[in-house]
Subunit: 702 residues, 2 copies
């Protein structure tokens, strides 16, 4: 018997692009994946013996290296029930098989009404990825499949099976035995192994993998696609580390400092001053002179040696030389603000290549080009050239392939919300510094409690996931990965030069890495607001209070139908207390109808007692209070909310409203600076809890 290596190398030597079904299955078998009993023959007499041995009914298939889509080409005959039919079909197949240089496969008929697909694809970014899903015609019709990056753990295999919509067919259904999940998990893991151990395997397609009525999955058809192994395409870095020069520079120079207000080279200085940067600040402009109280050096050559960080705000053309000049003066890190590189045209692409060469030649670390800069509030520093004023300090950090979080969205956060940031990195075109390095930096950063990412492409996907796998065990990491529809990706071209992997593969890789995906831009600050002030929920079980039955019902629907949150029953003790504080006509439970108690015993009493009861209940992981405030029904002092949040620091407490707008605004202004997040729309706290509960789930994953 040939070894797997030999089967593959022989096929490659013969110029084959695919392995025959027979050879494909020999490889599967070698990796412990059950396949149909089958015998490859090239004579009728052999076929007759084979069929006898296997037992009728049998299937006949034309089997040759380059044969794919056998069904569509009429190269399969199933359910051959006797010798005469066998002879008849063999006749018609023999010639085809011969002309294709193959044989005829006599195969057992596997009985089972459940068809799955398992497979492998070698992703350009993630390497070998294993697929699982509904098989047969449904693979194409429903696309109900999930992916994981190899190697798979047992948990990965189990999780990806539970992710498909049709996962019920894996259980006991319609009198069929449940699928033997241990075996199925093994198969998935072993497919990944094939991909890792044999770089020439580009794709494996096992479809159908039929589940026999006893629950045993069997590979009924299989196809392995080969390619000459390519060298791994991971860019070598000349330098790594040194990111503290960005986030904690002791000295900074602005190259391209401008005397004109509202120019980037002026705004950046104003931002640095407004944030009370404590290090040394140097400015460079050929005009020399003085600017905003600082001496202006006419050229880089005039600067002292060993400045930590240079912010280069020059046209794209002048950027490569400026990098070299800075490096010559001992600068260790540069921020490259200019646009006009690869995101624009061919000329820009050539400038980008020159810039990269300057970076690699000099060994500086660089962010950008085409970045709006970065922020580091614990160090009172920013390189943003968008007018920001004093940036509020906080404990969430952003990694963004957009300037927004160092520009207008930051401005919204600073003026419309009551939380702050620790670090923000606007990645720009990611010539040098990319997201995985920043994620690693944030993972060690004691100022950073939670990490939010916005990415249109992932430069080193495997490394990002490797880093994330560790950090997500102790810090929540959320990602808005955009450009995931064809149209979105199309819109992305205008933005930064980006290519997206198949969205399903990314989904699988992120799940493995513990990164929680979000789908709305606004969630990047709404969830940040929530996590800034409150702990992660330790589960998905929400308790909430509303002054309206309709809100109770709608929000329960929302939690259960869309958000994967539970609204569980509370303990009898809790229920009893809720009943005690309410008029007898209302039947109390979770969610809590807060108005009967409020109408009889006052708004403050009803909300305080109801909220505390939920916070104390062991069945509840997080509490949302929907506060009704109008002049006439009562506007209670809200200190009690702040007190409750302080007394129960282990459970998130969020507030939202109904009633009069001015009181909502006042309540926000009162509560948020004291650590209680509020949300204008009643759905928002639940959306945020859904995201953060998934973060916690990721944190405690096996």
């Amino acid at each position: 018997m040939k070894s797997v290596k030999e089967i593959i190398s022989d096929a490659l030597a013969a110029g084959q692009k695919t392995l025959s079904e027979y050879d494909s299955k020999r490889i599967l078998t070698a990796y412990g994946i059950s396949t149909t009993q089958e015998i490859l023959v090239d004579k009728l007499a052999e076929a007759e013996v084979a069929a006898e041995q296997i037992g009728y009914p049998v299937a006949l298939k034309v089997c040759a290296a380059e044969v794919i889509h056998k069904s569509e080409q009429g190269l399969i005959k199933l359910g051959i029930s006797d010798l005469s039919e066998l002879r008849h079909v063999y006749e018609s197949f023999a010639l085809k098989a011969q002309s294709l240089g193959g044989g005829v496969l006599v195969q057992e008929m596997v009985k089972g009404s459940r068809e799955l697909v398992i497979g492998l694809t070698r992703d350009a970014h993630f390497g070998p990825c294993v697929m699982f899903g509904l098989g047969g015609i449904f693979t194409e019709a429903l696309g109900d499949v999930s992916f994981r990056v190899a190697p798979l753990t047992k948990h990965d295999a189990k999780e990806m099976c539970g992710e498909i919509k049709g996962q019920k067919i894996l259980h006991k259904i319609r009198g069929l035995e449940p699928v033997k999940m241990d075996l199925l998990s093994q198969y998935l893991k072993h497919l990944g192994q094939i991909g890792l151990e044999h770089p020439a395997v580009r794709e494996i397609d096992v479809n159908p993998l039929i589940v026999q009525d006893g629950g045993q999955p069997v590979a009924v058809d299989a196809l392995i696609v080969l390619e000459e192994p390519k060298p791994q395409n991971f860019e070598a870095k000349s330098v790594a580390g040194g990111l503290d020069k960005f986030f904690e520079p002791k000295s900074v120079v602005v190259i391209g400092a401008s005397f004109t207000p509202r120019k980037a080279g002026n705004d950046v200085i104003q931002n640095i001053l407004a944030n009370e940067f404590g290090g040394k600040l140097f400015l460079v402009n050929p005009k020399g002179g003085e600017l905003l109280g600082h001496k202006v050096h006419p050229s880089i050559r005039d600067l002292p040696e060993g400045i930590d960080l240079a912010i280069i705000i020059l046209p794209a053309e002048n950027t490569p030389q400026a990098i070299r000049d800075c490096a010559a003066k001992g600068v260790k890190a540069v921020v490259l603000a200019a646009g006009g590189f690869a995101e624009v045209d061919d000329h820009g692409e050539s400038l980008q290549a020159q810039t990269l060469k300057a970076i690699r030649d000099t060994g500086v670390r660089a962010i950008g080009p085409n970045t709006s800069g970065h922020i580091s509030t614990p160090h009172h520093f920013t390189s943003s050239f968008f007018p920001l004023g004093k940036i509020p300090r906080g404990n969430v950090s952003y990694i963004a392939q957009t300037g927004n979080f160092a520009t207008h969205t930051m401005r919204y956060i600073a003026t419309g919300e009551n939380f702050g940031v620790a670090r923000v990195m606007g990645l720009g075109n990611k010539l040098d510094v990319e997201e995985s390095e920043i994620l690693e930096y944030y993972s060690r950063d004691t100022e950073t409690k939670a990490i939010f990412m916005y990415l249109e492409s992932i430069k080193r996907p495997l490394r990002l996931c490797e880093v994330a796998r560790k950090v997500t065990r102790f810090k929540p990491v959320m990602l808005l990965k955009s450009g995931s529809t064809a149209e979105g990706a199309d819109a992305a071209v205008a933005h930064t030069a980006a290519l997206a992997s198949d969205d399903r593969i990314i989904n699988g890789a992120l799940r493995q890495a513990g990164i929680v995906r979000v789908y709305q831009y606004s969630h990047l600050f709404l969830a940040a607001k929530a996590i800034s002030a409150m702990p992660l929920p330790k589960g998905n079980r929400v308790g909430f209070l509303a002054p309206s039955g309709a809100m109770l019902v709608c929000l329960t629907d929302l939690c259960c139908r869309q958000l994967e949150l539970a609204v569980p029953a509370v303990e009898e003790k809790t229920r009893h207390y809720l009943q005690k504080i309410s008029p007898p006509f209302i039947r109390m439970r979770n969610p809590v109808d807060s108005w009967p108690a409020a109408a009889t015993k006052g708004v403050q009493f009803a909300y305080r007692e109801g909220t505390e009861a939920l916070l104390e209940d062991p069945n509840i992981d997080a509490v949302v209070m929907i506060l009704m405030i109008t002049d006439e029904t009562g506007v209670p002092p809200l200190d009690f909310v702040v007190d409750l949040a302080r007394c129960y620091p282990e459970k998130p407490l969020y507030v939202t409203f109904t009633g009069q707008k001015k009181h909502m605004d006042n309540a926000k202004a009162f509560l948020e600076p004291q650590g209680v997040p509020t949300f204008p729309l009643i759905e928002q706290p639940f959306e945020v809890l859904s995201i953060l509960a998934r973060c916690h789930q990721a944190m405690i994953r096996p």
Copy 2:
């Protein structure tokens, strides 16, 4: 041959609850639905002849009236390939068949890898409903099915086939011919006919309906479940009409007027006065005297004859007598504010029965009980007892099985938004007036442009749909139907006594009726705001401008992935103009990156020209402007936005923001009173467009 009627009546006479597969299929055949060729036998010799006639392989099935779940019970043998196997299987089936009082069915084996399910269920509310979906094991595993209420139009049948997730299997796939859709549509329509013509048919289950490789669907198994026909359970109304007494009363009396501020019987008077009601206002309280400038009558008996409307704010116990007293004085309509009826306990249920009897005996029209009242701004009137002040007048109307829209949510709308309402009806327990009547009233109401409904139960579903079918052709109707998850329905019990039909049936019925379902409470006012000021979009093609590439990408993803909106290419002429106003380095298209032009030519110029280009483009149905406003980048006067909205009255134009919060607030305060809706979060205008585009789609449905 027995007729369909005879088959059913004989079975009922014999006490059968189900028809045998054979009889079920005879009925299908009579309605033009293809079934497998099959012969019912009770002797081996007959079986042999039958198999010979049909041709091997054949299937054998035990066939008897009360046999269901044949597969699970081992009463089916497929793929019998020859005489000896036939004999063997027949032996084992014959006894079982005999003991069950049936025979053995010899059946052709139908070839086809696509299994569908079609069926019928007699819904307690909607009557016979037709189902379509993925068949075989997937019916249970995926629940990928859709429903329509019988009778079905061809459009209904086509639409329900296109609604399932696995609809691709109906098309050409994997070398298989597309399903013959005309036949399939016929089958679905005819199933509905069976249900309409034979009230004893409770359920029909055709699973699988196998699609032969040529595209012909064939019923391979079938089961008809019977029941003694029940009389239709639709409550007869003693009176209908007369709703103008609620919405345009000339004289009103408050029974239970209160001298104590913040009591319901006081607040209702304050509301009536604040809204400058122009008719006559009477008050009743045993104390007599004067209240808020009005004489107080000590009893109903002291009132003049023929007052249009009485607002009865009395305890539940006193409500039935008050209705009778009012009626005796010629009152035509009553609002019943008291709670404490069926929504609470058995005693309440008995009070509710007494109340209903009083209504029916007297022939008054009544809303409630357990309602917070209603609103009619064109008539300057409200019966709400929640402090509202002057309610802003507008052109949207609500029908709500909650008081919220006549209480705190109305208060939010009045204080936080810049649109108003025409009519609001808080339905309460719906003893008399229910949603279908209000919908009909609003359909004729020239003050009402769009209708928003919140319902937890539907009292007369068929009538609601019948009314909606007409009104949705010229007015948009949106519905938040809550209590649609088990947990939500559970929460609903605390609120009003309500029972939900299967959510999928409701979905189908609403689609047929042109009602657009929404899923978030907040959308009830966000969409109202949008439709108040702007036309419906005439399609789902959105054009938008944002000052950030990241927003362009994220929102395009959102539109295409979640919202069923398209972000199409604009005409070359438009593209060319967008390019002309922008710096050459940026490649312009839809969505529009507004910032390069804004940075070089000013915010106002860039947004005005870009927006106008999109508004003029024939490929675009609606435009969203994401305006960046900060002190430093520019806060343009926004008259240009108002002008654009006026110049292009045929297309919706919505505004949202990024940047500085105070400018966003100012822009909202400036734009909305002038007819341009704004939204705080960038996703919201798109969510609203998605809802309204579906309303337009419903309006132009065949």
